[in-house]
Amino acid sequence: MGKLNIKINGREIEAEEGSTILDVAKTNGIYIPTLCHHPQLSVQGACRICMVEVKGLPKPVTSCTTPVTKDMDIQTDTPVVIKQRETVLELLLSDHPLECPTCDAGGQCKLQDLTHDYKIKGNRFEGEKRKVPVEEVNPFIRRDYQRCIQCSRCIRVCDEVRGIGAIQYAKRGFYQKVSTCADKVLDCIFCGSCVQQCPVGALTEKPSKFKYRPWETKQVETTCGYCGVGCSLTLHTKNNEIVKVTSRDDTLNKGHLCVKGRYGYEFVKSDKRLTTPLIRKDGKLTPASWEEALSYTAKRFKEIKEKHGPDSLGGFSSAKCTNEENYLFQKFVRVNFETNNLDHCARL
């Protein structure tokens, strides 16, 4: 691919031939708003929010679909472009319920942010609104298509990236909506990639509903504890509780997770968690202090080693625990038990 010279907002830029205006702007730190665009998905040009003016062209063009050409002179924020974006936002808002106070996407909604950025007040296009019932039969994903801006990112990620194709557009025009085959209840692999793609609150996590406001949470980057792929997770926590799991695009799993990685965190705060050491007394496991449990355990292990020799002791380590824990465990067994009777569940 060759290079060519273009200008964005008067700045001389060397661009990769074949890339779009949006790509080049992004690489060079120039902001153009988008709603329907995502680098992992096919280009759609549906939302019309990324319009820019190109010298010599009669009308603004969508920057996400227009490839750069030699000596292109682009302006990203002219009065014409701004007016168009305002109109697009007004049109979207004319059929978007303003439930922001109770919407889980509030505070992380791209439509909300853009409405604020472009200072949209009032609406010239008030009229009939779509009536689509909320679907929350499945245990994972709440689907409220009244809030949908029809960017089709959920459809594209499900089809192009996850290979499932659980959803598609149905009907036409004003009545167009995202739908499952024959409008059945959603039955998919529940990977949640569609929720992560949704720029508004049409798709939200059912287990997280009313649990947090985005600005109240802390984010911690970590690694999933289920299978051996090792997907990166972002744990969102509030008041010492995990309230949501997402993943960043710049990870080995490129932001995608499976149903367990995304929704399988509830066990962490289960009321069945062990919270105190237990010692079997009169045949029953009874709560004990750490001091008692540790000294009793050490005493018993020493007695058995004394009586039957080191090879009468053994340790099972864990493929679920960290490297550090496993390292210390094998060191413990080899040093204190003086045996190599040591293994873990790799074979199981």
Partner: protein
């Protein structure tokens, strides 16, 4: 894995065998699907079940469970016969080819068809496809290894890769998919009876010296018992009497659970350290409350040998302690104090005794560098997509660890238990997408439980018809070792004559049925084949599950 996920899609052909990748390793399943769909790569699946991946596969070879070695030998024979072998690679990089060839050549397509049930035309076509691919990678999981000849299966797979020179380059390789989040790391750390950290044999003086120098005490140099051997020794005079278990639930995961229960109950002293009162913890004399992955600092090593950070997000409940604190405190009580101010200091020490982790430290991990062992240099490379890489993403580029790659071929060996008149069906076990292992975590997640609430058995429609079993009808499944009652789900996923039960559900634990037969070398149990009988209980048809079996 000999290769990494960075170069997965550089393969022209994927051979997936004994891995239900889209359910057990969903993100790798997704990446293979993407390569097939968007990059026109080819996929061959060898699996007795019609798993999801077979929908996109160019070929699906459906062997009778337990006949894998014959199938791999058969593929190798065709590759040799048709002149598709990479003779330069065999000459320069390997040895033992002529001896192996003698065994391999016995497996004509006709012989393999008779043993495995795979039509010979299919075998020939698949061998040609694999042999002609420019770059081919092989992925496998427990479907290939959980047999009494699991080790032979792996050698036979490796033969295929060496025969075609498909190793040491991006997009090739022998890639076992590790099942658990840190099973790779637990092995790397030397939680094995015969090896110190970094796969260093315990009976080599030099290796003993290395750890003794850092730990400051004498360590035993005699190899110990494997997990399965330890369980089998319990209750015998010279067997295991006292056991310390950290984060494991063998009372769900061991084969022949009735036998395992007797073994654990015979122990003089059992200590279990876990986050829940598991089936195993219920048998313990002392239980230590430990921490989940979200409550501690540390690292996991994934299936591509990549070391990644685990970080603390929430505080542990009640008086639960971090596992490292429990181990160190108990060690102090035993008379050997261990103290580490942080997980990062543990990493520093383990890197000093684990040669393959030599240059691993939190400094690089926290910068987001993709660190793959063996990591013996701190130089950082940048991939074409901008990822920073340290260590070795592709193994065996110039030579194998032992120098020349060794061809080892083996005769097919039938499973311990074949079906007979009394137990006419083959049971094979595994995972589904919705739950995890013994279920101690996922069965406590309400959404996952709602999606997959109860145990079930996959039954082929032809078998169901023969036995007069309807979909969702209650059945009893019995082996020589025990029986369980659960719902039959009729589908075309298992081959006729084979039933499949996911082993996540304690109400009908599949491992009550499985056989305690081990591979003599790896000591892996033969979970993938045992003989069972299926009968109607008379309980009739139950409410079918609201959701489809595997959607998509």
């Amino acid at each position: 894995m000999s290769n990494s996920l960075h170069d997965l899609d550089e393969a022209d052909l994927f051979l997936v065998t004994g891995s239900n990748t889209t359910e057990a390793h969903p993100i790798i399943g997704m990446q293979i699907w993407q390569a097939v769909r968007h990059k026109n790569k080819k996929l061959i699946v060898i699996d007795p079940r019609k798993i999801e991946l077979t929908k996109y596969a160019a070929m699906h070879l459906r062997q009778r469970p337990g006949t894998d070695v014959a199938v791999y030998n058969g593929l190798a024979r065709i590759i040799i016969e048709e002149g598709l072998a990479d003779l330069d690679f065999i000459r320069d990089r390997t040895d033992g080819f002529e001896e192996a060839k003698e065994v391999i050549m016995k497996y004509t397509p006709e012989v393999v068809e008779k043993i495995s049930g795979i039509p010979k035309e299919q075998l020939i076509e698949a061998a040609r496809m694999y042999g002609k691919a420019e770059r081919a990678s092989i992925y496998w999981a427990m479907g290939s290894t959980q047999h009494i000849n699991g080790v032979h299966g792996v050698h036979s797979i490796v033969n295929l890769a060496m025969l075609t020179g498909n190793i040491g380059k991006p997009g090739t390789g022998v890639n076992p998919l590790r099942g658990q989040n840190n099973v790779q790391g637990a092995c790397d750390m030397g939680c094995l009876p015969n090896q110190f950290p970094g796969y260093k044999p315990v009976n080599v003086p030099e290796n003993v010296e290395r750890v003794e120098k850092v730990w400051g005490v004498k360590v035993p140099a005699k190899p110990g018992l494997t997990l399965t051997d330890m369980v089998n020794s319990m209750g015998t005079e010279r067997g295991i009497k006292g056991l310390y278990i950290m984060g494991e639930n063998p009372m769900m995961s061991d084969p022949d659970l009735n036998h395992a229960k007797e073994a654990f109950e015979s122990l003089e002293f059992l200590v279990v350290q876990d986050i829940f009162l598991t089936e195993t913890a219920e048998l313990a004399h002392v239980v230590f409350p430990a921490t989940s992955f979200a409550e501690k600092e540390g690292t996991f090593t994934n299936t591509e040998r990549r070391i990644q950070r685990v970080r603390k997000a929430v505080k542990p409940p009640g008086d639960a302690w971090e596992d490292t604190k429990i181990i160190c405190s108990l060690s102090k009580e035993m008379g050997y104090p261990m103290e580490y101010p942080s997980a990062s200091k543990v990493m520093d020490e383990l890197a000093s005794v684990t040669p393959i982790y030599e240059c691993v430290s939190y400094e690089y991990l926290d910068k987001g560098v993709a660190v793959h062992w063996p990591c013996n240099s701190c130089s950082i490379d940048r991939t074409s997509c901008g990822t920073l890489i340290m260590g070795t993403p592709v193994l065996h580029e110039e030579k194998f660890t032992r120098g020349a790659g060794k061809f080892l071929a083996f005769e097919f060996q039938p499973p311990t238990e074949w079906p007979d008149d009394e137990y006419p069906l083959i049971l094979t076990t595994g995972r589904n997408l919705w739950h995890w292992h013994g279920g101690s975590q996922t069965r406590k997640v309400s959404s996952l439980n709602e999606r997959s609430p109860e145990p079930y058995m996959e039954l082929n429609a032809a078998d169901a018809k023969k036995m007069g079993i309807k979909n969702s009808e209650e059945v009893e499944v019995t082996s020589k070792r025990g029986g369980i009652t659960l719902k039959a789900v009729i589908s075309d996923r298992p081959t006729p004559g084979v039933v499949f039960i996911p082993w996540h559900y304690k109400e009908a634990a599949a491992n009550i049925l499985t056989i305690n037969a081990l591979d003599p070398q790896a000591k892996i149990p033969e979970y993938k084949v045992c003989a069972v009988r299926v009968e109607k209980t008379g309980g009739g048809q139950k409410e079918p599950n609201r959701y489809s079996h595997y959607p998509g």
